[in-house]
């Protein structure tokens, strides 16, 4: 089975170049209007620290990294990233509903069980979250936004992501092929 076409019953996905061009326009508008690019992982950091602040506010005040986001009277929820995150979820949901692709299911490679896919999704998420903060941004905030404004570090980051992925892809081929 190839992954090129969407599963039967779903509308086909948009042409990648057209989607990319529209993405570029949204990214440009983001910079043009707000002075900043797109992103997701920074907002995750705010959500996580905000949740931690409910459970253990003193701990948040003690750890420098968390204190910078939610220490003392700082409000981690009132951040541009969180607004953008909510918008991203709504936008994706809108397109999913419009194209009838929003339904409760698990997408996975053909050779692993659903439970295994869940475990690897969780594990991959942990690694991804960790790496994204290490790199000060994720694929959207660094590669896409930093790439568009020609930041040297963002371009190095982009090549590093692909290098890391291709380096281990063969090892984990059972997950996907």
């Amino acid at each position: 089975m190839t992954t090129q076409s969407a599963p039967a019953g779903d509308k086909p996905y948009m042409d990648p170049y057209l989607a990319g061009a529209l993405l570029g326009v949204v990214l440009f508008l983001s910079f043009f209007l707000t002075g900043g690019g797109l992103g997701a992982s920074g907002a995750l950091s705010h959500v996580q620290t905000g949740a931690l602040d409910w459970v253990a506010p003193k701990h948040v005040d003690r750890v420098a990294y968390f204190a910078e986001i939610a220490g003392g009277a700082r409000n981690p929820w009132k951040s541009t990233g969180v607004y953008m995150l909510i918008g991203t979820l709504l936008g994706a949901l809108a397109s999913g509903l419009y194209n009838r692709r929003a339904r409760l299911e698990t997408r996975k490679g053909p050779r692993i069980s659903v439970k295994a896919r869940w475990a690897f999704a969780l594990l991959g998420g942990v690694i991804m979250g960790y790496g994204a903060r290490m790199a000060r941004g994720c694929t959207s905030g660094q590669a896409l936004s930093g790439g568009a404004v020609l930041s040297v570090g963002s371009w190095a980051f982009m090549f590093s992501v692909f290098a890391g992925g291709y380096a281990v892809a063969w090892l984990f081929r059972k997950l996907w092929t």
Binding site: E105, T139, S140
Partner: protein
């Protein structure tokens, strides 16, 4: 007319502010879903060479956005200096990127695409998102143990044009060419490993490629605005600050701020080497007209923390003001001109007349003192804020140094006079928006 980006500092916390970012996010999520980025198989296939959609979408997005940004700046619609550029922390970005590559293959998403998957009710996307939240938490808990590495290789605002020493248009054109080559290669690879015909896709590909090349060529020819052109387009409010003298700080204010240990005060001296060697303010760094246009100095000033304030000084005010205009047009915040320049400085904090005798000025931007010898920053007047500089004013004609010091201590009451001044320096926080990943 105020150039884009919008100044949102006044709107912080309002509904309008939240809606702007929400709308941008909405477009982002909508398009990612349309491209198929909610489907983990489509994303992971990138690493098995079967479906290069990730590369095509991302690279097209980058190329289109950077072309539009550079064109908007070239034609005077956008002030690029006020656009957030991810600071370069080279090694932590490379290490974080490699970690993310591994996480991508294992988990099948990146943080942004997992939002899309979760929003369209994919259970794997939701679990990835939970994992990502745990991951950022784990990072926050552990970063303290390797902070020196995390903060290392800090190049600040460092762009490919700065690095390569090429105009922005040329770099963007090169990226367009590389991207088109990569797309071609991606299609060949897909045909080989994914069984897709390389000619698949819309017939608009070739015209689109030519349009991108044409736009990039326009950029190369039209170029980016010079500091003078940018100053000419500067907001009226900025020009008004010059007319109302709000950007001229008295030497007495500079001295008082130099005492404030919570600030990083630096002085850039615009005069030539000769005058600089005769006398300069303690710790001042010499610069010139050419350097104020060079990306290195601008990047250094833009990379300064929010508690930094920089003063420009010349003999009078003319040259310092010209540098102020150029640097301000390039987006440098918290920049002031020393009122009356070095001449006024030496009026308030005088050097002994046997070292520097006042002479009639030839023109406003010439040194109004004739120095007997080069003093550099060795005179007490160079650092009036230091307690040790008090009372060190050598009375002229004294041969014996010890005697001199004692004598001056008695005669001059051990302190510089406290000159009154109008407070002009108001620290302005830099752009609030740091991009989604700040």
């Amino acid at each position: 007319m105020n150039l884009a980006p919008l100044d949102l500092s006044a709107a912080v916390g309002t509904v309008r502010y939240a809606l702007i970012f929400g709308a941008v996010g909405f477009g982002f999520g909508f398009i990612l879903e349309m491209a198929g980025f909610g489907d983990t198989r489509k994303l992971a296939a990138q690493f098995y060479l079967k479906d290069m959609t990730v590369l095509k979408v991302m690279f097209t997005g980058i190329v289109v956005a950077s072309l539009m940004l550079a064109l908007a700046s070239s034609f005077g619609l956008l002030d690029l200096h006020r656009v957030w550029v991810n600071p370069t922390f080279l090694w932590s970005e490379i290490a974080g990127g490699a970690i993310m590559g591994v996480g991508f293959v294992l988990g099948g998403f990146c943080p942004g695409t997992s939002l899309v998957a979760a929003a369209t009710l994919k259970i794997d996307g939701m679990l990835f998102l939970v994992g990502a939240l745990l991951g950022v938490w784990a990072f926050g808990e552990t970063v303290g143990s390797f902070e020196p590495f995390w903060l290392s290789s800090d190049y600040g605002r460092f762009t490919l044009p700065d690095w390569l020493g090429l105009p922005m248009g040329v770099v963007v054109l090169a990226i367009v060419v590389v991207a088109l080559g990569a797309f071609r290669l991606a299609e060949v690879v897909e045909a080989r490993f994914g069984g897709v015909s390389p000619t698949a896709g819309g017939r608009g590909k070739w015209p689109a490629a030519i349009a991108l090349l044409a736009a990039a060529s326009v950029l190369v020819v039209h170029g980016q605005p010079t500091p003078e052109q940018q100053w000419a387009r500067a907001a009226p409010a900025t020009r008004q600050r010059v007319e109302t003298r709000a950007i001229f700080a008295s030497p007495a204010e500079v001295v008082s701020l130099r005492k404030d240990t919570s600030l990083e005060v630096s002085i850039l001296d615009l005069r030539d080497e000769h005058d600089f060697n005769l006398f300069h303010v303690g710790g001042a760094r010499r610069t010139d007209d050419a350097e104020t246009r060079a990306p290195a100095l601008v990047a250094r000033l833009l990379g300064k923390p929010a508690w930094a304030v920089t003063f420009l000084v010349s003999n009078g005010e003319t040259e310092a003001l010209r540098a102020w205009e150029s640097l301000t047009a390039q987006g440098v915040p918290n920049l002031y001109v020393v009122e009356g320049g070095i001449n006024r400085w030496l009026e308030l904090y005088a050097a002994p007349t046997c070292v520097a005798a006042p002479i009639a000025q030839r023109d406003a931007d010439a040194l109004a003192y004739r120095f007997e010898f080069a003093t550099g920053q060795s005179l007490p007047a160079a650092s009036p804020e230091l307690p040790i500089s008090r009372g060190f004013r050598l009375p002229c004609g004294s041969e014996n140094e010890d005697e001199t010091l004692r004598a001056s201590g008695e005669h001059h009451g051990n302190v510089w006079p406290e000159h009154p001044f109008v407070k002009r320096v108001q620290l302005q926080t830099k752009s609030v928006v740091k991009g989604g990943c700040g």
